[in-house]
């Protein structure tokens, strides 16, 4: 049995659980619990405390597993566990919450320090009030001055087509880049 493992990460409320629920063929294992952080609890009732898990079966021998990481900082230790197990990463960033960009940037740097695996950034909540433009988010995430060449795509975590398109963009990262 061959398993492609993809991690979906991001801050609290970025849409990780929704993203996996939307595309998974199985009911996502519910690890959402009532939020204990008072600040976050004011705008979001539940958050992931363990790994969300979703699956796509391609055939009898090939499967895709998706893992959603907990968003709250105190579960950061789980990243190292996941990082060594997955083949690719999707970092979701809620563009209507600029206060979270610093956290997203921290996640990005953290991953880049540890692994060099296919990765893309998915921008969520692009239709919400106060949403930042893509170029501004790219700047805020430090993608320009870190010389990081990562695809950045808009994604509606509730829309299966949008999530599928995001995964297709991720798969493009495996294609060899033309040599110069």
């Amino acid at each position: 049995m061959e398993i492609l493992k993809i991690a979906v990460t991001g801050n609290v409320g970025a849409g990780k659980t929704t993203f996996i629920r939307t595309i998974s063929e199985i009911e996502v294992v519910d690890t959402e619990r009532r939020i204990t952080d008072e600040k976050i609890a004011s705008w979001k009732e539940n958050t992931t405390v363990a790994l969300d898990f979703g699956r796509l079966t391609l055939n009898s021998e090939q499967i895709v597993h998706m893992y959603g990481t907990p968003g709250q900082a105190r579960f950061d230790f789980m990243w190292d566990i996941i990082l060594n197990k997955v083949h690719a990463y999707i970092l979701l960033v809620a563009v209507h919450r600029p206060q979270d960009f610093r956290g997203a940037r921290r996640i990005l740097t953290y991953i880049n320090q540890r692994v060099q695996i296919p990765m893309i950034i998915g921008l969520t909540h692009t239709d919400c009030e106060g949403a930042w433009q893509k170029d501004d988010v790219i700047l805020a995430l430090g993608l320009t001055n870190q010389n990081i060449d990562l695809p950045v795509v808009d994604v509606n975590a509730e829309n299966p087509n949008s999530v599928a398109q995001c995964l297709l963009t991720l798969l493009e990262q495996w294609q060899p880049k033309p040599t110069t």
Partner: protein, 189 residues
């Protein structure tokens, strides 16, 4: 004259809630619509980067209470965002610059320099705002890297995932799976 003007600009950093828009002068011979509103008679012809102004102003004028939540974590480290710079740094800023990229936490720097941690965090943040440094997590465990490289097979459409330093528990992914996944996604969504 320019220095006096800068003093006034520096005082803007004492304002607790404000938004400023910086406009650049074009090198084009024609004056743009926004440039028409510039106070040309007060301008000396000298210029300074906004990042340099912010770094200098934050040294003396800034009320750090408003940025408590933005402070880099005590256990974080610093990485350089640029290889070179032409900023005139103070001794502590120079120290942070020289120790960047070396996986040393701010707490450790504070201990070594015998400077309050808060001061280290403030200096680091002003250098982060100036685009010189960035906050990074300190690696507490042995570095493990996974790299993917171009597949050796000329028939392959995908780069192959080859583990270099990572433990062997991460199996390779075949081109067949990647191709099948693409087909699956295109068919079902």
């Amino acid at each position: 004259m320019f220095q006096l003007q800068l003093e006034e600009v520096n005082k803007l950093f004492t304002i607790t809630s404000a938004e400023f828009k910086f406009e650049e002068i074009n090198n084009e011979p024609q004056v743009s619509s926004s440039e028409k509103n510039f106070p040309w008679e007060e301008m000396t012809g000298k210029q300074k980067k906004a990042t340099k102004i912010s770094l200098e102003a934050m040294r003396d004028y800034f009320n750090w209470d408003y940025l408590k939540e933005k402070m880099p974590f005590r256990n974080s480290g610093l990485n350089k965002l640029v290889d070179k710079h032409d900023f005139q740094l103070l001794p502590l800023e120079t120290y942070l610059w020289n120790t960047a990229n070396s996986n040393i936490s701010l707490r450790k720097i504070a201990q070594e320099k015998q400077v309050p941690l808060e001061k280290i965090q403030q200096t680091a943040l002003s250098m982060i705002f100036a685009g010189l440094l960035e906050e990074v997590s300190i690696i507490n465990m042995p570095m493990k890297t996974t790299k993917y490289s171009i597949a050796s097979s000329s028939k392959s459409n995908f780069a192959d995932i080859n583990n270099t330093n990572i433990s062997n528990n991460q199996p390779k992914i075949s081109n067949s799976l990647l191709s099948n996944l693409i087909a699956f996604l295109r068919k079902h969504f």
